[in-house]
Symmetry: C2
């Protein structure tokens, strides 16, 4: 984690970024990651997740000194108590943050200094689906729109190309657009699941 000659353009340690890419090229198996969360129901639609450990680069990560805690809830109009955003709003945070992180990395690799990156995200959803009032309406978002404002020392076309490149390498974009396999099960009453860290 030492910077030799590259300055930390955009706050990105470019030398370490390229060294990391070289390390993964040499040992592709270290690219296997497993992220985790644990959630506990509190009351009504209010629950809380804790996120801390993950597996990656061939080992359990121990770099996060404290766990991150997040509440989720429904708003009053949906019979919740406003103790946190709705779960679907966290999807909007995730897509904006993923595209923005990639954008800063790509800009640094291309030698573009960013001055400001902001984005607004909107998601349209018809609750007739989740309320069980229409079989024709899907449960999830009909559409999500992300609008970026990017300011940096490059042409508008180059800045737009950063966003496009980030999109093409975004993990969250891929999952939200293409979907993924989600398996759900319930622990048997006499076999109360595993610890959060269990690997399968």
């Amino acid at each position: 984690m030492t910077t030799t000659e590259s300055p930390a353009r955009n706050g990105v340690d470019v030398a370490t970024l390229f060294a990391t890419l070289d390390a993964v090229k040499a040992s592709p198996q270290i690219a296997q990651f497993q992220f985790r969360a644990r959630n506990d129901w509190i009351s009504g639609t209010h629950s809380r997740s804790v996120i801390q450990g993950f597996y990656g680069a061939g080992q359990e990560d121990a770099s996060r000194p404290e766990p991150f805690w997040y509440d989720a809830d429904h708003p009053a109009v949906l019979v919740g108590s406003n103790q946190g955003p709705t779960p679907v709003e966290f999807l909007l945070h995730a897509i904006a943050a993923c595209l923005t992180a990639g954008l800063a990395n790509i800009a640094a690799a291309r030698g573009i200094t960013l001055r400001r990156v902001s984005s607004t995200v909107e998601g349209d959803i018809d609750l007739l689906g989740i309320l069980g009032l229409s079989e024709q309406v899907r449960n999830g978002y009909r559409q999500i729109r992300v609008r970026f404002e990017v300011d940096g020392d490059a042409s508008h076309e180059e800045l737009v190309a950063l966003v496009e490149r980030s999109r093409s390498r975004s993990a969250v974009y891929d999952v939200l657009v293409n979907g993924t396999d989600v398996q759900i099960d319930v622990a048997a009453p006499d076999a109360p699941g595993g610890e959060p860290g269990d690997r399968r």
Copy 2:
């Protein structure tokens, strides 16, 4: 928001829940919601989202007294600074919280009292995709697994049926499994986007 005869089983105001369903049946257009987030880049892979207002039930919501703020970042091993979880970890929080909120509502509607609901979520991802080192590897999660532990005054089969019913009505599950339309654009430099609250 008054409870007449139903107690707040599981912290769910069942009378209001059913009244809300009746109101939507009578005026299906109030089921159109738009959720929003705004994200600002801070440095490197670190960004911060703010979530507060949304449109729903025919009006702008004003029930949240304070905005919710969430940081996201990459961990040190991915050349970040650990100022928050990775964006993909927020997807794990979202699916757990969505399934859990639904479960509590459905249990209350079915007259089942819950004592405890916990879940652990794991997501497997091969970073060769997002690092641009393999065209055969997708960017996003290969699989997400959710394991529930549910304790309540019903048989194991009835508790499992709650989870299954929640899955079938989950907005986050639908998006993560089936994907959705995501549109991304960049504001022209002389037209700096709109305010977060703009409708289209």
